[in-house]
Symmetry: C2
Subunit: 303 residues, 2 copies
């Protein structure tokens, strides 16, 4: 089952303690689609400017990403500049240039409207809702958001969340959204806002999933070198939704496996700048790391 | 197999966002012994002052803790005063009164010297070594330490570590000890200092164990209310070493189970001030929460 995904495409300039990259391919939709493409086809909705090179579009298309929903607008592509200190969990934004993204008005091509799996990437919640309204009858709707929208567009976000099944959110943000310092209680409060499932991303500590009947905790993969955390959350979402839609059965069992595939994709993504690692990756390496997650977490019961 | 444990016994005064407690029973040896007593007998080495009430000694003895190694010195018992903000991962020390602990000179009773399992609680590394030298031929030696000793007694700590099998240490402290920001590489460096196994405690994020051939990651138990984190690390160590010595087989499988039992004991301990929760706990509740850890972490493989 293919996925409809909306989000940003961008040029990122990034500085980490281990190096820097200038105007490299980035954006939530880019990371998401690339990660998801290891599992399923993706129908992308995004906007780029006149300066966006064809090679990036070719790359995504070669990965099975349908670009019918890509708008090329007059002006420049969205740009983000950020840095990370040794605490790689949090980026410091140095500069944001919305450019063509400022007037993004997502329109779905006809052939996107029967989507069953929808991922609303981290954009203005009003736009997320606008995308969702153009889908005839989605089966699973997942959504990402961030502190910027929780603070600045809370009402629109709460409206969008009413129609969302799975919210992927950072730990600090779930606390902020629920106005509750304890993560478990915060998750329970957000579950009453619409999404029955919450995936709380904890950066280098992994992720915790709250479903109506269970909690599932997955560690992050212990890496000797985290090179660039940019796109980790979106790669996670891509692996998660990609796997889930590929099996087309949102059971508790499949959701747990999807969390691990999300963690796998995020762990690869942070090993290089931009999409460098995912460009070289093949599905056998993905499955191999999945098995390493099993070895990392398994323990026997006691009588 | 019983455990020999050395550490502090103290009166703690604690303030958290959820309440306060004055001069309650605390100390690393107290938490450790109580947690370990759910699995095995403990031979305790510690010092208290003239003000230490008999009821606390009775409590530990009733839990199967041998107090032959307890010294009652002239003067007052060790006191610690600390507070926690909503970020419950780190305590702010407000006051430390070493009192009788300042001149602690641990002497092992004869009947302690054949110990096979030894836990060197978080005290001066020179004293840890002094305890270890009095044991004839230990089989498994575990050790806890903290930033205070890493900074102030580095040489003595490095000397002690040469004789240690398992080091239990906080995440920030393993980075500090190895002078290496990446946890995985830091753990590998510390493994070359002596301990072949490292248990890196990550507070509300759980623990990661590095053995010579594997890495094991365990989440913390998601709690709706963390009341007081004091003693979580020592309760963890008690559950870990208690279980390990009870099976008397430090295999990778048993070490993983021990990590879960450590996590179980820590998760109970933080639910109330002081040893309040452990006083009411029984082994069936411990085993029940172990099973909940299985439900929390299990996921199926993929073909």
């Amino acid at each position: 089952m293919s996925i409809l995904a909306v989000g940003s495409m961008a040029f990122d300039s990034i500085e980490t303690p281990f190096g820097k990259a200038d105007e490299v391919l980035g954006g939530s939709a880019t990371y998401f689609s690339t990660a998801a493409s290891f599992f399923t086809a993706v129908n992308l909705v995004a906007v780029v400017g006149e300066d966006f090179p064809q090679e990036h579009i070719d790359f995504l298309q070669q990965r099975g990403v349908n670009m019918d929903g890509l708008t090329r607008s007059r002006g420049k592509t969205f740009r983000w500049k950020g840095s990370y200190s040794y605490d790689l969990n949090e980026a410091t934004t140095l500069d944001t240039q919305l450019n063509v993204f400022a007037d993004f008005d997502p329109q779905l091509p006809e052939n996107y409207r029967n989507a069953k799996y929808v991922f609303l990437g981290n954009i203005d919640p009003a736009l997320q809702l606008k995308v969702l309204q153009q889908v005839i009858r989605p089966k699973v709707v997942a959504c990402d958001t961030m502190n910027f929208w929780i603070e600045g567009k809370r009402e629109a976000l709460l409206e969008t969340l009413k129609y969302v099944d799975i919210l992927l959110i950072n730990e600090a943000e779930v606390r902020q959204l629920a106005n509750e310092p304890n993560m478990v209680r915060a998750a329970r409060k957000v579950q009453e806002m619409g999404p029955t499932t919450l995936v709380v991303k904890q950066g280098e500590y992994g992720a915790v999933m709250f479903t109506p009947n269970a909690v599932f905790a997955a560690p992050a993969y212990p890496l000797e070198a985290v090179f660039d955390p940019t796109g980790a959350g979106d790669s996670f979402a891509g692996g998660f939704m990609g796997y889930l839609s590929s099996v087309d059965n949102p059971s508790d069992e499949a959701m747990r496996q999807a969390i691990i595939f999300g963690s796998v994709m995020a762990s690869f993504n942070v090993e290089e700048f931009s999409l460098g690692r995912m460009r070289k990756l093949d599905i056998s390496q993905v499955r191999d790391r999945y098995r390493k997650f099993q070895l990392l977490t398994e323990f026997k019961g006691v009588d």
